[in-house]
Symmetry: D2
Subunit: 347 residues, 4 copies
């Protein structure tokens, strides 16, 4: 008998409950909390501060070697509402990854998709299915589902970046596959540009003729450079938008960069307020530049560069900038969109 | 401190672990089981047998009233691998619902989508957003996400049917909304046909001109009648297919009837074998006619009318028919498809 | 000098015009009529009456053999506005085809797509890429672009049907390809059902599982039977629609049956009026049952079974029924839709 | 009697033909040339040379005023095979437009879509539905279907550019609408950038969040700047492609910039050869930089900057570069694609 045995003061009903449990059945009318009026996320609004993350990442770098046994030197943000699960919100893994000068994090691939958002530094590159993608501050780098990836630090300093994965969703769907890969030992020199950028990075709307129309559901452009993102944000503000708000997209389709994660960059000018806005599904934010305050649900947090914020499903979020605030967000909005479950409001 | 506190024999590392826990961080290198080589579903292959389900449903009907407090008279299949959760596999709710003669299960709506597959009987109808949909043996009836629905039994006998919901997926995504609705007290007479069938049920490929192209992501046809399904299966066999295999689809798009559940009917002629086949995501089967054996993973089950089988993600399933076997299946294949996570093999 | 030589009273300008013509250039400012305020179709509203078509088709059947040299025994409707071109409107070929008892119209294929709408009779079948498709009164039969097709009359009587092709569009796009095919000599017995119907004809929304999602842009269902169309029309009227109006669609996508021709059936109950409505692109109508009047542009025509009406682009059409009027329509609406040029109004 | 009257030596047949003509019918078996084995385009391969176009455009500028009466100062390329029609190939209008210093070509809109490809100069801008779009050498500027557009030359020199329109296709479909518009008298100062570029021109894959997903079938980015196109071509060559080949796309969808015209830029390095390749539908090419030879069908043409080449449907084209050749192409490939009629081969 593996399932819950319910009890009733009525003897006949109690006997029924006993037999239901013996048959691995549960009486719906005794269950509660299955269908809530609104989403009842267990995760809570939360911030991991850069002033705490950085020294801990550095110490991890001193104490823990990067090697196959240790896989990746990663500190996972564990939302206090989730009872010890290593997830930043119920649907997203967020973490800081530390790679010391000269280190290589070896190759593997998995069905959970990952993105890297770089907060500072240069000289690190990620090899994605054989294409070397340089990483620098403000860049968004993708390692889509089931692509081999390994990280190389060919600089003289450590780099720390934000990792976000859709792991909780893929795990909930019982769809995790994993495989080690052959690592590239050839060179530690940082490449100038990835092939993906040579082919898809020329300008908005300019596609290689041979690939136009050959969409696969995930972006063939593996890096979105800060210079371009900054240009796009400045353009929007010049065109009169009160808040700059870019959505990173697959140039072959205009859709989200990966089927499970929406990526966005907000620029809130000093003194302006973005939101409040809420949406189904979780959100992870990470400040690139500037400072301000976030109000998430009923809590208020001060924010500065490198801080990571978790906003659970259906919690309103507003952002107030003290100094021009550039903040990266990722969410599982495309998942909810695809399933007809996406809702948003200015609540 | 809400997260796990890891330990290390090395004093410096142990101090690091202590501080990580204080900051709600977890060291990835101490975690295990996150990334498995293949899906590691906790659910196990399992069968709930009609010979046990029916008398328990009948006794529930005698002991438990249907009313707002009790909501629905439903016995949920609880997979023994899931530690007491009331789910048939990790991603699908499956249950038998019992509605006595003259009863009405009152109106509500929720973002989890539901389907009803009717095993026997007639005279029950479900009101879906105001459209009365008759239910009879072999019919598939849909109550898509956020549609008001209530069940009326205007016959002189109880009816039992299979309910399947995507509830575990919607809950994992923190996207459950629920609302009570105004129930229809007007009439207990069974309607002749739903308006959805009057408009979309004329024949394959025949759409109301005004609605062609107005797809919403879920089928506007709320009932798929057994006579048509049987005709489609016979046609396939007549055309030379060894196994009849119908996918229920949205007539406006040809896509799955709802964005979260694929619905299929298999006809395995006596002596034939379907499979083995496996796929990512869970499957629920329910026998309509005939008998045979299912081999799911490493277990074998005898199957007959009304039996419900749960097949967890990536478990191979093969079906052998003793007498021509008609078996309904539903799965979360469209979810995995939409997210780029669907895989299948004949493994 | 192959282009037009314009003249000007001004000597310098006239010299310019001379040199433009020598260089195969034309001065836009001397051209007129290129950009009209509204579509200026050359075709006119017109009706070809069954009482005239039938005896002429019969006499053609007596005088003209069907054989490779003669290809098809077809009388093409030539709109009087088109200056002798054999087209019913500027964008559609319409014709009556006559096939005598025992005759075979041999196999060929071409990029222009064709449809057959059967007005009366039975016993004829069309072999479409090897699939024998029976034809009977009220049926719509497709021979999509580049499918081999041949017609067999295994009945004891001649049959006459309506052919419509997108030939003028394909010709205007310089995309006509043609190829003779190997004809099937095997049998003159009428088949019971096409394989396309065995596989896709079971009921609305019921697809062969293996083919769901494998859309090609044209319907895999090659015949739409009158019984189903009639059922769909009766369902719409029962659901309260004042006019029955079915759009034939590809069951795999819900889109038009072929990328170049929309097919529809109207049922106007006696005394009711459909329209006026106008749309960009030409329309061809053909009465199956009943009688009434059509007002197309500024002209009024009496209509009865077998009559064929041509409605040029942007001409309002209204239909008044004396006896319940079933009228088939085809148009190039999908072409205009795909190119962003479709407009309609109740003008 | 408006249609062709066929003749037969057989008296009965001749009488039939007489009556067919009286009823506006034509006997298919007497028609020929309707269904050709391959496309039989009437247009011929042809080149209009810049050395001839420029002085004629200049003289037109001296002799012909731009004003409402004269509409646009445009010289239309008239393919010698088309019997005097002002079209460069059967499906595309191509022309050079001349706008003198200080002139304004007044506002209008039409359903035929237009593009402008700029060969040299600066200081001209086109107002597209209120958005001022600067034009400079190498830029592609769009005025999609039914957008108001007017051209302003605020420079001190005349500018000449290439216009291409889908007019022959829209006319063949009887879908031409035209409307004069209110011209902007406000300012002749050239704007710095269009709003469309401020919003969509930031970088590949970077969309305004509010507009992501709001595709309309035509690009919201109205200008594709040469600097970006050049960067994209250089990237492709750096990534190892023997020929640079960019397709201009709608950043919201990755599809062609307009539903009726594909736009591409080829860079053939000196000594390299592109093609031969043929495709259904017409192509217009225009050289931006470099020199070489084109072989179109069986003819060979020398090509240099500003030359315009017409390649009719299904004619093979190969390009040989003497000096690095940048050549812009537009075609009606999206029309043929949408209708299932696109074919290509390296024939």
């Amino acid at each position: 008998m593996a399932t819950t045995r319910f009890r009733s003061p009525d003897a006949d009903t109690d006997l029924l409950y006993k037999e239901l449990a013996e048959r691995d059945l549960q009486p719906l009318w005794e269950l509660s909390g299955l269908l809530t009026a609104q989403p009842a996320a267990r995760a809570v609004p939360y911030v991991w501060y850069a002033r705490e993350l950085r020294p801990l990442a550095t110490r991890s770098g001193e104490l823990i070697p990067v090697e196959r046994g240790g896989d990746r030197r990663v500190l996972a943000c564990a939302n206090p509402g989730l009872g010890g699960a290593p997830y930043a919100v119920g649907t997203l893994w967020a973490a800081v990854q530390q790679l010391n000068a000269g280190e290589v994090a070896p190759a593997h691939r998995h069905t959970p998709a990952a993105l890297r958002f770089v907060l500072e530094g240069t000289g690190v590159w990620t090899l994605v299915d054989g294409d070397p993608v340089p990483m620098a501050a403000g860049d968004l780098v993708l390692t889509p589902s089931w692509t081999f990836h390994e990280h190389h630090n060919s600089a003289s300093q450590a780099m720390t970046w934000l990792d976000v994965l859709d792991l909780p969703v893929v795990a909930a769907l019982d769809a995790v596959f994993y495989e080690d890969g052959p690592s590239d030992k050839a060179s530690l020199a940082a490449p100038e540009a990835s092939r993906s950028e040579q082919r898809f990075g020329g300008g908005p709307g300019l596609l290689p003729a041979a690939d136009a129309g050959a969409a696969t559901g995930r972006s063939p452009l593996l890096a979105y450079r800060w210079d371009n993102t900054d240009l796009a944000l400045r353009g929007q503000l010049a065109a009169g938008a009160p808040i700059g708000h870019v959505r990173y997209s697959d140039p072959l389709t205009g859709r989200d960069v990966m089927p499970t994660m929406r990526c966005e960059m907000l620029r809130v000018p000093a003194g302006a307020v973005a939101g409040p806005a809420r949406q189904t599904g979780g959100r992870i934010g990470c400040v690139l530049h500037g400072s301000g305050q976030a109000r998430a649900g009923t809590e208020t947090f001060a924010l500065g560069p490198g801080d990571i914020i978790a906003v659970p499903s259906w919690h309103p979020l507003s952002l107030t900038a003290e100094r021009d605030l550039d903040i990266f967000f990722t969410s599982d909005a495309p998942v909810l969109d695809a399933l007809g479950l996406y809702r948003e409001s200015d609540g």
